[in-house]
């Protein structure tokens, strides 16, 4: 498996049998990868095709993989059942607002913890690490009670503000800020720069990859989130699309409206798939670098 063929100098004359053995392993590897790729892309393909299939074909046996004709009727059905544009907008507002606010709040906090030597730094950092292990799901009940006391249920604020800072994000950025050379900010300070100025014009420009990684993750995680919006919104006017779709399945009686749901699924994944294809390198590197997960 791990014989790295590049180890053998490229110019070494190879016997025919060695070359054909190599060809066999290589085609085996490619075959394996093709199986993986088919497994991962097949359901996505099914969503796309079913979304454009006539309802009668989606709900027929034997099922059609390739629709006989393409139609937008599932999207009409979707719009008749849920306010798709509104809920997509809600998803966007929710994900973008959390991303924006948490970038600001987390990077400020991370800067203090990484770059200012103050009393209590270690104590605060230790407490934050301990908090990192509190699963968000464990706080749902009191969070809901708190939010409803403030009167934020069914508001953007209720969705967004509790997520405006997160320990994992602070931790990630702190780790990154620490690796930047000390001379960077020392020099700026000697020149009389204020702390905010050091943060803004010295540290942040050097931390763009980390900030971008964090932004991507926050956007994707919140766009995709289900449990939190499900609890925090009962009103369709602020409910994000994922929760809207989930409630659509719940309300289904008898045969689930699969065509409509596939259309909804396509609307829900399209922006992220486009974003992913645009920045996939960075995204994959970000996972490898931070091990961050939603």
């Amino acid at each position: 498996m791990t014989t790295t063929t590049s180890l053998t100098p490229a110019r070494t004359p190879r016997s025919g049998s060695a070359r054909s053995a190599r060809l066999v392993t290589q085609s085996g590897v490619v075959a394996g990868l093709l199986v993986f790729a088919a497994l991962t892309s097949f359901p996505v393909l099914v969503v796309v095709l079913a979304a454009f299939s006539p309802e009668s074909e989606v709900l027929s046996w034997p099922p059609n993989f390739i629709p006989s004709r393409l139609t937008l009727e599932n999207f009409d059905g979707l719009m008749a059942r849920i306010p798709v544009f509104g809920q997509s907008w809600n998803s966007f507002v929710f994900a973008a607002a959390v991303t924006g606010l948490s970038l600001v709040f987390n990077s400020l906090a991370a800067y203090a913890l990484a770059r200012i030597q103050f009393r209590g730094r270690i104590a605060i950092f230790t407490v934050l690490i301990a908090i990192m292990m509190v699963p968000f799901q464990a706080l749902l009940v009191p969070l809901y009670e708190l939010i409803s006391e403030i009167g934020w249920v069914n508001t953007y604020a209720g969705l967004v503000i509790p997520r405006a800072a997160d320990v994992a994000g602070i931790f990630l950025l702190r780790q990154f800020f620490i690796t930047l050379p000390r001379d960077l900010d020392s020099a700026a300070r000697i020149d009389g720069a204020s702390e905010l100025r050091v943060f803004w014009s010295v540290i942040l420009p050097n931390a763009v990859p980390a900030l971008l990684t964090m932004a991507l993750f926050h956007f994707v995680n919140n766009w995709n989130d289900l449990l939190w919006p499900l609890i925090m919104t009962s009103d369709s006017s602020v409910r994000p699309l994922t929760a809207g779709l989930a409630l659509l399945t719940g309300s289904a009686t008898g045969v689930a409206p699969y065509g409509v749901m596939m259309a909804g699924s396509l609307v829900a994944i399209l922006p992220l798939v486009v974003l992913y294809l645009l920045v996939q390198r960075r995204f994959i590197e970000g996972v490898a670098m931070t091990g961050m997960k939603g």
Partner: protein, 321 residues
């Protein structure tokens, strides 16, 4: 170190006998106060959010877990009753054992599949590596909710492509989501499908950290592919592996989305998990007190696993130094 504007870069701490210069001591104290003040200002927004929405709720969850709170009106203190129920009520115990079963299936499989994909993709001589990496990682970007809808459709006994194709092979597949035996494995499989790309990428990073010369040395010693895997790759991935294991387990203990969409906990509670019960007990049946006790059980499990991770993580950092 960051305040090296003043000439004496190093001043011995007082406990080591270093004496602050009388003229300096006030300055130093003032500077320290200034730093603490500035740091506080930088930390304030994030800490305010975390205190209000993590700290405070964590303590109210603890308090609620000793009450019969319903979310409305009166609540009274009932001591440990909720916790007693958690560990004696068969349905709740079932949810806990389902979660563990889920973790036991999910963890090893998602890791094995992720590692297999990473090993295949790590070879330098594979054509279209970028393409494969992109496609295989794709499900991780899609929400679990959508993944669940897609798989529910694919596996639907009356409409789905998979039962249809299997029937062509002479295999009759019933409704997996209606089977008390198969519903939990099916729900787990969807999570594996969605997440293995994530583990693949972590493993790829780990594999790239293994020095080339180790493989060269192994080749010179005449080690075959399998032997190299055992002697070089496996030890080289040890740190990655421990990290990944704890991560997979913590993730498994938070399973909710696919269950909510595909099975609603059924059939006959066969797919109810801890978080699913927190949701239904708290927000459908309004047993907020009981849901809080369950939350604390989840917290305890995660905390235990997290502490293991932290120990491993710090050990790994030491190894790297």
């Amino acid at each position: 170190m960051t305040t090296s504007a003043a000439p004496p870069r190093y001043r011995a701490p007082r406990r080591l006998g270093g004496e602050a210069h009388p003229d300096n001591s006030r300055q130093i104290a003032a500077r320290e106060r200034g730093r603490t003040l500035r740091a506080t200002a930088f930390l304030a927004p994030a800490l305010a959010v975390i205190i209000a929405f993590v700290f405070v709720p964590a303590f109210s969850a603890l308090r609620l877990s000793f009450t019969d709170a319903s979310g409305f009106g009166e609540e009274s203190w009932i001591g440990l009753e909720n916790y007693v129920t958690v560990f004696t009520d068969p349905a709740t115990l079932r949810a806990i054992s389902n979660t563990m079963l889920y973790a036991l299936m999910y963890g090893p499989l998602v890791i094995a599949v992720g590692l297999a994909a990473a090993l295949l993709l790590n070879r330098k001589d594979v054509p279209w590596r970028g393409f494969f990496r992109t496609v295989i990682f794709l499900p991780f970007v899609i929400s679990m909710a959508v993944a669940s809808l897609a798989w529910a459709f694919l596996l639907d006994p009356n409409l789905g492509l998979i039962p249809y194709w299997l029937s062509g092979l002479g295999i009759t597949m019933g409704d997996v989501f209606a089977s008390t035996t198969w519903a939990l494995p099916a729900v787990t499989a969807v999570a594996i499908w969605k997440n293995f790309g994530y583990f693949m990428v972590i493993f790829l990073a780990g594999l790239q950290g293994i020095p080339r010369y180790l493989y060269e040395a192994a080749t010179l010693d005449g080690a075959g592919a399998w032997r190299q895997f055992r002697a070089v790759t496996v030890p080289g991935l040890r740190a990655t592996m421990t990290f990944v294991i704890v991560f997979a387990i913590i993730g498994a203990f938070q399973a909710f989305d696919q269950i909510y969409i595909m099975t609603q906990g059924g059939p006959d509670r066969a797919t109810e998990t801890i978080v699913y019960r927190i949701y239904t007990d708290g927000f459908r049946d309004f047993r907020m007190g009981f849901a809080s006790a369950l939350s604390y059980v989840l917290l305890a499990i995660t905390l235990a696993l997290g502490l293991i991770q932290l120990r491993i993580g710090t050990k790994r950092e030491k190894d790297l130094e």
